[in-house]
């Protein structure tokens, strides 16, 4: 019998600006995680990144990512290997009144056999950027901690929302 799923695990709605968002002690009871973010930064020129871990955030060079994006006039692709995080949103999030949306799918996040892969889509507002990305974490550890942060230290503005969902396969 089909089982109802897609469960909200945790939500953060920012009442004050913060420089990073961290979900910790994530339940291992699901098959996939989906993180939906609606957020803005106070100024353009910053880029939002993803790190994960088990017990603590892995800050080592264990990440890589590949992305494609369109700006309204051109389409481009890029990638980074042996990085300390993966891309989430490009270098033009913001300004603070323009809330952009990104959805990250963490596939099979709780298994302890394989490296982890996530895919996301992000759409900017003022930045006019639409972006798709695949990220890799070269670890067989289960993911129970996820962090979003901004490369040059911008804060996520008040009103930004971040909701983590769990999806269970039959």
């Amino acid at each position: 019998m089909a089982g109802a799923t897609y469960v909200p695990i945790a939500t953060q709605t920012l009442g004050s600006a913060v420089s990073n968002i961290t979900f910790t002690s994530i339940s291992q009871a699901y098959t996939d995680l989906v993180l939906i973010a609606n957020f803005a930064l106070p100024a353009t020129g910053d880029a939002t990144r993803i790190q994960v871990g088990n017990g603590s955030i892995d800050t080592g060079t264990n990440y890589s990512s590949t992305w494609i994006y369109g700006t309204g006039s051109t389409a481009s692709s890029g990638r980074a290997s042996s990085d300390t995080s993966t891309r989430f949103a490009g270098a033009a999030v913001g300004p603070s009144t323009d809330f952009a949306t990104g959805i990250i799918n963490f596939q099979n996040y709780s298994n302890t056999t394989t490296y982890k892969t996530w895919i996301d889509r992000y759409s900017g507002v003022t930045s006019s950027e639409v972006n798709a990305m695949v990220g890799l974490w070269r670890s067989t550890s289960a993911i129970n901690t996820i962090k979003l942060f901004n490369v040059v230290g911008s804060n996520f503005v008040v009103g930004s929302t971040f909701t983590l969902y769990g999806i269970s396969a039959a």
Binding site: G3, S77, R79, T117
Partner: protein, 198 residues
């Protein structure tokens, strides 16, 4: 001031579980691998379907495509798809019409990472939406986001992919089965999960 907010999931109560998104079937490949994955007898009680996968194939040092056959229809002319793909160095777009997939009835790439005799541990992930699948008045439309990254270790010319795809199956029948095949066998631990969306 702390710059980090920790959320302890175990402290969250009142989780909302609706019946609007339901797990229907899941296939996890065992130690022998699998040449294909099929969801059959799909109920018509939902509005849309979603397939979420995490997969790898067993061929050595290649990046494999994947193919979808709907309701066992192997008539190549009944399928069409378009892709927008990033390789890390360039963005490209292309289309695929007809029977381009080795004799299966087709539609295509979801950039699966390949294994090198088991020594690679890089996996592709993807989410495929199958829209209004039970309607008997429409040809069917699918779309997907998929990708695989191997930290630059994939074979030359195939470093990584992130792909946005759309596809059509030119048939008005309700979709009752979906089969996935690839150039190689799916490796152990590959998982395909089918969900229904009301």
């Amino acid at each position: 001031m702390s710059s980090s907010i920790g959320i302890y999931a175990s402290q969250i109560s009142g989780h909302l579980v609706t019946n609007n998104y339901s797990s229907i079937q899941t296939v996890t490949v065992g130690s022998g691998g699998a040449s294909s994955i099929t969801f059959s007898s799909i109920p018509s009680t939902y509005t849309h379907l979603q397939v979420r996968y995490f997969a790898q194939t067993n061929r050595s040092l290649v990046v494999d495509d994947a193919f979808i056959t709907i309701n066992g229809d192997t008539t190549g002319g009944n399928y069409y798809s378009h892709q927008l793909q990033g390789s890390g160095s360039s963005a490209s777009a292309f289309s695929s019409a007809g029977n381009g997939g080795g004799g299966v009835g087709i539609f295509w790439p979801y950039a699966f990472s390949a294994t090198a005799s088991g020594s690679y541990n890089y996996w592709a992930g993807g989410v495929i939406d199958v829209l209004d699948y039970a309607n008997t008045n429409k040809n069917k439309t699918l779309r997907s986001l998929s990708g695989s990254d191997a930290n630059g270790a994939a074979p030359s010319g195939y470093p990584a992919f992130v792909t946005l795809s759309s596809a059509a199956w030119f048939n008005t029948s309700a979709i009752t089965s979906i089969t996935f095949k690839s150039n190689g066998n799916f490796s152990q631990y590959s998982t395909f999960a089918l969900y229904g969306v009301k």
